[in-house]
Symmetry: C2
Subunit: 256 residues, 2 copies
Amino acid sequence: MFRTIKNIFSLVTGKPHVSKKVRSQETMNLILNRRSCRSFTDEEIGADDFQAILEAGRFAPSAVNLQTWSFITFTRNQWHEVFDRPIPFNGMRAIIVCADGARLKNHFSDFRETPYLNISFALFNAGLAAMNMTIAAEALGLKSIMLSETGKTGLLDFSYLQEKLGLPDLVIPVTTLVVGKEKGGKAGVPPRQPWNAVVMEKQYHEVNSQFLDDWFQQMFIGFKLTHPLSNFQKQLAFYKKKMAEAEEEIKKQYRT
Amino acid sequence: MFRTIKNIFSLVTGKPHVSKKVRSQETMNLILNRRSCRSFTDEEIGADDFQAILEAGRFAPSAVNLQTWSFITFTRNQWHEVFDRPIPFNGMRAIIVCADGARLKNHFSDFRETPYLNISFALFNAGLAAMNMTIAAEALGLKSIMLSETGKTGLLDFSYLQEKLGLPDLVIPVTTLVVGKEKGGKAGVPPRQPWNAVVMEKQYHEVNSQFLDDWFQQMFIGFKLTHPLSNFQKQLAFYKKKMAEAEEEIKKQYRT
């Protein structure tokens, strides 16, 4: 019980450890206060701003500068045409970020011999681009959320997206970045694993498993607070089914 | 020949397409002008600043908030102790960013059934964290470079790093982020694939292969300009050997 109270406390107070000077720096402030947004207004996004977000992705760094990504863009109407429903959370625009191993494989024969390496780099690079786009959105006064796990919009819906978007082999839809203006209050802080579990000096070290128990309990409490009507066990069962399906699809890509 | 001249021109003029207003925004300016730095001074980095960079990584978003990453940190002395040579490019600090599938697999049995999915998310999440740290460094007036391909510092040196850092199975060393203050002039702009090759509306489309030929020629010319004494073919042969080795190591992780 004491640990539960302590974890509720951590959930509310788990702020980044940085100096006031650092926190007051504009970009640091954006990075450290960024939260996923789960409710968007109907206000339009300027074409300039949307283009700037995509350019932030295009100008992200990548391993060996290979830029193994594709960004598939949607307005609300376009999303409706393709998926026959609104953008999740009523977002104004959406970008499906794909790790794209197809382009280079088709073009440069040397890449054919190392599928595991190529896809690994492509997934990492997709993360670099997605983060740059997310920060760009914040910089322009917009909010966003990356969806990978629910609502037919990310890696857990691989086959569905492959069909709807006409994705060739080796193009992996990793996440949907939903963008818009925030409606209502600021969302809570999702719990972070403690510094000592993540940052290691000089050598890798195993993590104290109590850290992970505490953090998982915080996740669970957080879920209960933000989804009071939801059944956690049912949600977990749903995810596990989706995960098993996605697993088969991803495995296939490595053998293509 | 005309295309070669055109490609040299593109190499020099391939700037992001954003409005002046967007470009003048501080964070957008950092994102769009960020270049990898290949020469660092001997000036120390404040402990506060280094901590802030790591916090930017720790507070990055991740799929299902699972934070599947580890950051292994080094001062110059620590790097020397472990690797018996200086940090590449004379960097002042280094962070080896790992996609970490070990922690959750050991702790939560449900994760054991979907290794491809778990590693894919871990690689993507590592990209999100690495990008956040890179931008944080820029925000604090520092420069950085991510190394994945040379000098025993990234995914292409998997076994070597696994041994030196004591990495358990399912911890994949993706990249080394080298940080410091920049020495000398600003590096050139590495060529980006054209907008139409990367950004797609509503549906995936195959990319005109001339786009890729042009871009690859720009990469080649860029390499020649920045590495005038290097032998491109020899370099390529070296990479191919490293890639084949890394391929085996990565493949093994999915079967662990």
